[in-house]
C-alpha cells in the first residue's frame, strides 16, 4: 500500500475531547445494591426496580456471547461506572439553564441546544453520560399529541405506556448485553406517536459518553400507533481514552397497524487509536416489532466508530403484509472490529424484507456481516432480498459474510447476492490520471459503493455520513 494512500485514511478523531465537568457517579462495580441505588436516584416505581433486579439475576446466570467474529480482552464488569451524571446545579426549567459547559460541549459537537439554532425541523434529546440533558421542541410536539422526552421522564409521566412496552420487543433476558442493559439502563429517549399522526419533524437523540471508566447503557423506546409515522435519527460520539468503554444499549421499536418507523444511526464513537488502544465496545441490541398489518420498520445505519461493533438491528414481521428494511454501511479501519448485520423474522403473511449491507475494511481491521432471514411456517408469500457487498482497502484487512437463511414455508422467495471488491492502486491511479486527487477519489469510490444505503438517510445525515467516511479513510487506501 502506498504511503500517500496510507496517509489518507488516518485522520485524527475530531470528537475526542473531554468536558471538564463535576460529576455525580456511583462507585465502580455492579451489584443489586448498585441497581437499587440507580433506581432510587431516579425515584423509580417499584415495578421498574423489579424489572431491573430480575434482569440482573438472569444476567448473572448468562454467559458472554463468543460467537461473534471479534476478539477482545475479557470485560471486567466490576470495573465499570454504571451511573454518572453532570452534577445538577438545580432543576432545569428551560434549556437556557443547561450548564454552560455542557452547552459548549454540544456546540463543539455541532449539536447546539438552542431550538432556534438547531437544524430546522429536527427535535433532539441530548444524552450526556447517563442522563438526558435536554429535549428540544418537546412542547411543540406535545401540541399534536407526540411524546418525545427522556426515558426517565417517561417513566414518571407515562408509566403505563412504558410498562406496557418496555421489554415487549427485546425481553430483559434476550441476550447477555440486553440483560445487562435491562438491569442498569440509565436514560435514553422515549417517543410515542399517536394514532394517525405523521410526525412533522425528525426526532433525534445525540449520545455522548464523557466520563472515563463509565459505561453508557441507554434505552430507547419508540411506539408508533395505528397509521402514524416517524423518522428518528441517532448520533453518537465519545472522548479519546486509552481504556475501553462499554456501550450496551437497547432500542425497541413498535409499529402498530399501518404505522411506519424509520430509524437512522450515524455511529461515530471513538474507535481507539491506530494500535487498537482504547475505544468503545458497542454491544447493542436494536429490534423493531412490526406488530400491526401493513406496518413498516426501516433501519439505516452508518457505523464508523467503536473499537468493536456488535450490533444487529432487526425486524420481527408479525403483522400481515408488514415489511422490514435494513440499510447498512459499516466502515472499519486500523484495528477496529465490526460484526454487524440484521435479523428479519417473517411471521405474518406476505411479509417482505430487504437487506442492503456495505462493509468497508481498511488498515488491519475486520468487518463481518452476519444476518438471519427466517421465514416461519405461517408466513405464506414472504419475500426477502439481501445484498451484501464488501470492499477491501489495502491487503491487511478482512471482510466476512455470514448469512443464515431458515425457511419453513415453501411459498417464500429469498434472494441473496454478495460481492467483494477492492480499492486498488489501479483505481487510484486512474483517478489521478484524470486529474482527481486521492481524497476526492476515495470519497467518490466510497460514496459510489455506499450509494444504495445513503439514499435512505435523511439529507443532513447523508451529508454528514459522506464527510465522515471520507475523514475516517484518509490515509488508508492502496
Amino acid at each position: 500500500m502506498s504511503a500517500a494512500l496510507q496517509n489518507l485514511v488516518n485522520q485524527p478523531y475530531k470528537h475526542g475531547f473531554v468536558t471538564d465537568i463535576e460529576t455525580d457517579s456511583v462507585p465502580k462495580g455492579l451489584s443489586e445494591d448498585v441497581i437499587r441505588h440507580i433506581s432510587k436516584k431516579k425515584s423509580e416505581p417499584e415495578w421498574l426496580l423489579e424489572f431491573r433486579l430480575s434482569a440482573y439475576r438472569h444476567w448473572l446466570t448468562m454467559e458472554e456471547p463468543v460467537w461473534a467474529n471479534v476478539s477482545y480482552p475479557k470485560i471486567d464488569f466490576q470495573d465499570i461506572i454504571y451511573f454518572t451524571q453532570p452534577k445538577p446545579k438545580k432543576q432545569l426549567a428551560s434549556m437556557d439553564e443547561v450548564d454552560p459547559e455542557l452547552r459548549r460541549t454540544f456546540e463543539k459537537l455541532g449539536v447546539p441546544l438552542h431550538e432556534q439554532k438547531m437544524m430546522t425541523g429536527v427535535a433532539v434529546d441530548v444524552i450526556f453520560d447517563s442522563v438526558s440533558v435536554t429535549t428540544t421542541y418537546k412542547a411543540k410536539l406535545a401540541e399534536i399529541g407526540i411524546i418525545f422526552c427522556s426515558f426517565s421522564e417517561a417513566v414518571h409521566e407515562y408509566p403505563e405506556l412504558v410498562r406496557q412496552y418496555l421489554g415487549s420487543v427485546v425481553p430483559s433476558g434476550d441476550n447477555y448485553y440486553a440483560a445487562l442493559n435491562s438491569a442498569v439502563f440509565t436514560d435514553g429517549s422515549f417517543c410515542f406517536i399517536p394514532k394517525g399522526t405523521k410526525c412533522p419533524m425528525d426526532l433525534s437523540t445525540y449520545f455522548r459518553i464523557n466520563t472515563e471508566g463509565s459505561g453508557q447503557f441507554e434505552r430507547t423506546l419508540i411506539i408508533a400507533e395505528e397509521g402514524s409515522s416517524v423518522c428518528y435519527l441517532e448520533g453518537c460520539t465519545a472522548p479519546q481514552f486509552d481504556t475501553n468503554q462499554l456501550h450496551a444499549a437497547v432500542v425497541e421499536l413498535v409499529a402498530l397497524d399501518n404505522a411506519d418507523i424509520k430509524y437512522s444511526t450515524v455511529q461515530n464513537w471513538y474507535a481507539g487509536d491506530e494500535n487498537g488502544k482504547g475505544g468503545i465496545f458497542n454491544f447493542v441490541t436494536k429490534r423493531g416489532l412490526c406488530k400491526g398489518v401493513n406496518s413498516k420498520i426501516s433501519w439505516t445505519q452508518v457505523e464508523t466508530g467503536s473499537a468493536i461493533t456488535w450490533k444487529y438491528p432487526s425486524c420481527v414481521l408479525l403483522g400481515d403484509n408488514s415489511s422490514g428494511e435494513f440499510y447498512s454501511v459499516a466502515l472499519t479501519n486500523h484495528l477496529q472490529q465490526a460484526d454487524t448485520g440484521t435479523k428479519m423474522i417473517h411471521i405474518g403473511k406476505n411479509t417482505r424484507s430487504k437487506i442492503i449491507s456495505k462493509g468497508i475494511s481498511a488498515g488491519r481491521s475486520s468487518n463481518s456481516y452476519r444476518g438471519l432471514v427466517k421465514v416461519g411456517s405461517r408466513a405464506t408469500g414472504a419475500r426477502n432480498y439481501s445484498q451484501c457487498d464488501s470492499m477491501l482497502i489495502g491487503d491487511r484487512c478482512a471482510a466476512n459474510t455470514f448469512p443464515t437463511i431458515d425457511v419453513q414455508n415453501t411459498t417464500a422467495t429469498i434472494e441473496h447476492e454478495a460481492s467483494t471488491s477492492k480499492i486498488g492502486e489501479d483505481q487510484m491511479f486512474f483517478f489521478a490520471q484524470r486529474g482527481i486527487g486521492s481524497e476526492e477519489a476515495i470519497s467518490m469510490i466510497i460514496n459510489g459503493f455506499c450509494k444504495d444505503v445513503f439514499v435512505h438517510l435523511p439529507m443532513e445525515f447523508a451529508v454528514e455520513a459522506t464527510k465522515l467516511l471520507g475523514l475516517k479513510l484518509e490515509g488508508s487506501v492502496g
Partner: protein, 256 residues
C-alpha cells in the same frame, strides 16, 4: 503533421526506470512536438507500456535516470494528478471499473478539476450535460452510458470508447493511447480512430502504443518508433510500420 517549427510538448532524454528493482527502461529518448502523431511499437516486454505508465506517474515505477519535460516543466517533479492537469492523458490498456460512480459524475469531476486548476468556471450538472452530450457523439456512444457506473458491465470495446470519451471531454495536450486498439473489433476500431482523429489539432499530439499496424491505417502516424529492450531502437515514418508488419521485429533486434 510534422512541423519542425512547432513547440515541443514532451522531451524525454535517456530515461531509465525500474519496477520492483528490475530495470525496464534503459535510456529512452523521444521528442514530441505539437501537431504530431507518434506510434510506439515493439514486442511484448519491450517497455512500451512501462514507458507510458512512467510518463503518467504510475506509483509502481521508479525513475532511476534521465529526464522528461512537459512544455518545459520537469515532469517527474509533478504528482500523477498534476501531470494530468497539465494536459497529459493516458488512455488505459485495461480501464478500471468504478461501481456506483456514474460516468457523468466522474467526467464532470475530472472536467471541473481541470477548470479550477486553470482558473476557469466550474460547470453545473446541467451545463456539463450539454457539453458531454456533444462529446459523446465523437465516440458514437449511446447517452445512456453516461448514467451507468464507470465501465461496469461495459464490453471491452465500450470501455475503450469510454476512454476516448474522457479524452474528448478533457482535451489533453498530449494523449497516450496504451494499446487502445487491442480487443477492438473492426467497427469499434474505426469509431475509436475517427474519434481520435477528430480531436487532433496543431496544438496537441498523440502517442499510440500498439502491436499492430491496423490502427495506423486509421490514425496515420508521422513517426513510428520501435522499442526493444527498454530503448527506442529505430525511428521512421509510417512505412516503418508496414515494414514491421511484413518482416516482423527480428531483423531490427538483430541490428540493435
Amino acid at each position: 503533421m510534422i512541423n519542425k517549427e512547432s513547440r515541443i510538448l514532451l522531451e524525454v532524454k535517456n530515461l531509465k526506470a525500474e519496477v520492483a528493482g528490475v530495470e525496464i527502461l534503459k535510456g529512452v529518448d523521444l521528442t514530441i512536438r505539437a501537431g504530431e502523431v507518434h506510434a510506439i511499437m515493439g514486442i511484448n516486454g519491450s517497455g512500451k507500456s512501462t514507458f507510458s505508465k512512467v510518463l503518467a506517474g504510475h506509483p509502481d515505477y521508479t525513475v532511476t535516470g534521465g529526464s522528461a519535460t512537459f512544455e518545459g516543466r520537469d515532469l517527474f517533479a509533478l504528482a500523477a494528478e498534476e501531470r494530468a492537469r497539465a494536459g497529459l492523458f493516458l488512455a488505459f490498456q485495461y480501464p478500471v471499473e468504478i461501481p456506483g460512480v456514474s460516468n457523468s459524475a466522474l467526467l464532470r469531476l475530472a472536467y471541473n478539476t481541470l477548470q479550477l486548476d486553470r482558473g476557469l468556471e466550474e460547470l453545473d450538472p446541467l451545463e456539463f450535460d450539454d457539453l458531454v452530450q456533444e462529446k459523446i457523439k465523437v465516440v458514437e456512444m449511446n447517452p445512456s452510458f453516461l448514467g451507468r457506473s464507470v465501465n461496469e458491465g461495459f464490453s471491452g470495446g465500450e470501455k475503450k470508447r469510454n476512454e476516448i470519451l474522457q479524452m474528448a471531454v478533457l482535451e489533453p495536450k498530449l494523449a497516450i493511447l496504451d494499446e487502445t486498439d487491442s480487443g477492438l473489433d473492426i467497427d469499434a476500431l474505426r469509431i475509436v480512430a475517427k474519434g481520435v482523429n477528430s480531436l487532433l489539432s496543431s496544438d496537441n499530439a498523440v502517442v499510440m502504443v500498439t502491436h499492430y499496424q491496423r490502427l495506423l491505417n486509421y490514425i496515420v502516424p508521422d513517426y513510428v518508433h520501435v522499442m526493444d529492450g527498454g530503448r527506442i531502437v529505430r525511428t521512421g515514418g509510417k512505412e516503418l510500420a508496414l515494414e514491421l508488419e511484413a518482416r516482423g521485429y527480428d531483423w531490427l533486434r538483430a541490428a540493435a
